[in-house]
């Protein structure tokens, strides 16, 4: 406004500002105007705090279904569903042994939509475990953990552990028989290093097992202290930790160069029309860039980055589709099947059989041979092994290819047979003939801890993968074999624990054969 022209009356200015307020609010929220063109949409993604975890442009290889099957986004969506439904359940849930079971019953039978919300929560949690495992398998089989993505593989392992931890802590909260005995078993697994320290006679001086159990339960039995601790872990500590690592995980995807793709991905993609491939050469805005920090060789002038499309809408539609599919799956399953609620917890009479959630039943099968090896020893070996993968496999061939090409696929098929076969043989042997204790009752416990079906199976897998490394002269081949074997062993043991174990953990061909008691 020029100083010479007479100012408008203040009241008039006030009215016109008031009328413009909604428009200005909208503009101030959006910063770069309505995202209606390719250029403004790109600016929108770039300037929005939630969207800017995405790149402005996405490589077309990343958008193929077979690159990821959308598993990462599905895991995130399932986590989101558990967050929302979990907060809703917290309106009514009371974390005290005297009230917990009744409050869950209220949620199921009295609270409007309570049963439905609880079912969704339970199914989303189960789905999250499945999808996180599948996501990990995808990353492994496409060798996406290789440099520079090693750290993100470790972050992903942290997320896997937290996902399982969230499931386990949530398991106690209903305070029914299932919960009480699963957590009693879990807490005693935490205490199981005593199996070794007792055998060595040093428990009095060095008792990590007892300390773990005490920290977990806040007492020596599962009671009110344990319930409030599990509640705190479940609704506060673990979700916060998960969200924190999740942020790092997403950030690193971008900073490590986006999703992995084969070196010749650009040649293998079909050509695109100009409409799918907009570039903004008019009115350049950039006058300076962090040339010393940004990856890539040089600025591309007058053309867009090769084979990329704007993330908005192409990537966002894909993510939205996966999210909707995940939510639909959770809701559908919740309509079909109710989350279980057994009788009120009874510390005097265990469930028979007392089964952990299905994804821990493979471990429970191992635990039924040795508490320490099955519950702590072998899981620790597996976790350390997984963490080392990106640092041992420094090859580059086949990165971004499923199974690293044709040869890899053959190894994976072979390893599937070896993995399933070995687990089946060891299990069948142990079920049919028993183990050391039945043959030599006086056998020292340490011998069983070191030599039991679980360790035998792990040793077979390790030897097989060493043979693969030598046979094909490739670390990657060995890793493919080992990972596949452990995956198969996990699946087979889980099936045995879920379907073929009945009262007193005896073997039954079918749950229909269980004795009535």
């Amino acid at each position: 406004m020029s100083p010479l022209s007479p100012p408008e009356p203040a009241l008039k200015r006030f009215v016109s500002n008031l009328r413009a307020a909604p428009r200005r609010m909208r503009e101030s929220a959006l910063r770069t105007g309505r995202p209606s063109t390719d250029r403004s949409r790109s600016s929108f993604v770039f300037g929005n705090v939630f969207l800017h975890l995405h790149p402005v442009r996405t490589h077309r290889w990343s958008l193929r279904w077979s690159t990821t099957w959308g598993l990462g986004i599905a895991a995130l969506a399932a986590f989101g569903v558990t967050l929302v439904t979990g907060v809703l359940l917290m309106f009514y849930y009371k974390p005290h042994p005297a009230a917990a079971y009744d409050s869950i019953k209220d949620i199921v039978y009295v609270v409007p939509t309570g049963r439905f919300i609880r079912n969704i929560h339970r199914w989303a949690a189960n789905l999250m475990v499945v999808v996180v495992l599948l996501h990990m398998a995808r990353v492994f089989y496409t060798a996406a953990y290789r440099a520079p993505r090693e750290f993100n593989w470790l972050a992903g392992m942290g997320l896997l552990v937290l996902t399982l931890g969230l499931s386990f802590t949530g398991y106690l909260l209903p305070w029914d028989q299932l919960a009480y005995w699963a957590i009693t078993i879990g807490a005693n697994i935490a205490q199981s290093p005593r199996e070794v320290t007792d055998a060595l006679g040093i428990t009095g001086a060095f008792d990590p097992g007892g300390l773990q159990k005490l920290l977990l339960l806040g007492s020596d039995t599962v009671g009110e202290e344990a319930l409030i601790r599990f509640y705190l872990l479940h609704v506060m500590i673990l979700p916060l930790a998960l969200a924190l690592i999740l942020a790092v995980h997403f950030w690193r995807i971008r900073k490590d160069g986006g999703l992995v793709r084969p070196g010749d991905a650009d040649r293998r993609l079909p050509p695109t029309g100009a409409a799918d491939y907009p570039v903004f050469t008019e009115a350049p805005q950039k006058t300076y860039q962090l040339a010393a920090l940004v990856r890539g060789r040089s600025a591309a002038v007058g053309r867009g980055p090769e084979n990329t499309v704007p993330s908005m809408p192409h990537l966002f539609y894909a993510e939205l589709a996966v999210t909707l599919l995940t939510v639909a799956l959770c809701v559908g399953l919740a309509l079909l099947s109710d989350a279980p609620l057994k009788e009120l917890a009874n510390p005097a009479v265990p469930e028979n059989p007392a089964k952990a959630p299905w994804y821990f039943l493979g471990l429970q099968e191992l635990v039924s041979y040795s508490a320490f090896m099955g519950g702590i020893g072998i899981p620790a070996i597996v976790l350390v092994g997984l963490a080392l993968i990106p640092f041992l496999d420094r090859e580059s061939e086949g990165t971004g290819e499923w199974f690293g090409g044709r040869g890899g696929r053959r190894v994976v098929v072979q390893a599937t047979f070896v993995g399933l076969g070995a687990a089946l043989l060891v299990e069948a042997f142990a079920i049919r003939f028993g183990w050391l204790r039945e043959w030599v009752p006086a056998v020292p416990q340490l011998a069983i801890t070191v030599f039991n079906p679980g360790t035998v199976l792990a040793a077979i897998y390790a030897l097989y993968s060493v043979w693969l490394v030598r046979r094909y002269d490739s670390t990657r081949t060995g890793a493919l074999g080992l990972f596949t074997c452990f995956l198969c062993g996990f699946v087979l043991l889980t099936v045995v624990g879920t379907h073929f174990r009945g009262p007193n953990w005896h073997f039954f061909w079918s749950p229909a054969d269980w004795p009535v008691h």
Binding site: S219, T221, R229, V349, N352, P353, Q364, S368, T449, W505
Partner: protein, 161 residues
């Protein structure tokens, strides 16, 4: 710089440790030490100093009809009491594997969780349990018995009635 030597360094030469570096490092280490100390303090909190658990020493009256070889389990307790010709004894029913409650039957105890089996004296016969069932201390108290779950006794210790 107590004695100025003939070849004394110029004031423009850098000091061995720059004053600013010293202060910076000192503050950095103090911050680190403070954080560590605070973390140790916070980590101490969740380890309970007093564990609340029900009294583990209690009085029971054995039923007259208790026959040798059959067990009497006081209501709400995880212990099985026996009486035979040599006396009375108490065997814990908490499985030494993962803490489930074993069930007494003919010939011994069986664990519902992972299939451990113990003989009538609590010795492991089968399954993953690493050690035998614990024998608890029993003492006569008038016409009843005091069971002390906090004290274990060697297997085979029976108290004559």
């Amino acid at each position: 710089m107590s004695e100025p030597a003939p070849s004394s360094p110029s004031r423009l030469d850098p000091e061995p440790i720059a004053r600013r570096d010293l202060l910076g490092l000192a503050s950095l280490w103090s911050a680190g030490a403070t954080l560590l100390f605070a973390l140790v303090g916070m980590a101490r909190l969740p380890k309970a100093a007093v564990v609340s658990s029900p009294s583990r020493k209690y009085r029971v009256t054995l039923p007259e009809s208790l026959a040798p070889g059959s067990a009497f389990v006081p209501p709400g307790r995880s212990v099985a009491l026996f009486r035979d010709g040599e006396g009375v004894f108490a065997i814990s029913t908490v499985c030494t594997h993962l803490g489930c409650i074993v069930k007494h039957g003919p010939g011994g105890f069986e664990c519902p969780c992972h299939g451990s089996r113990f003989d009538a004296g609590g010795k492991v016969e089968k399954g993953p349990a690493p050690s035998p069932l614990v024998w608890h201390k029993v003492s006569a108290d008038g016409d009843g018995w005091i069971v002390d779950e906090g004290t274990s006794v060697p297997a085979g210790t029976k108290v004559a009635s």
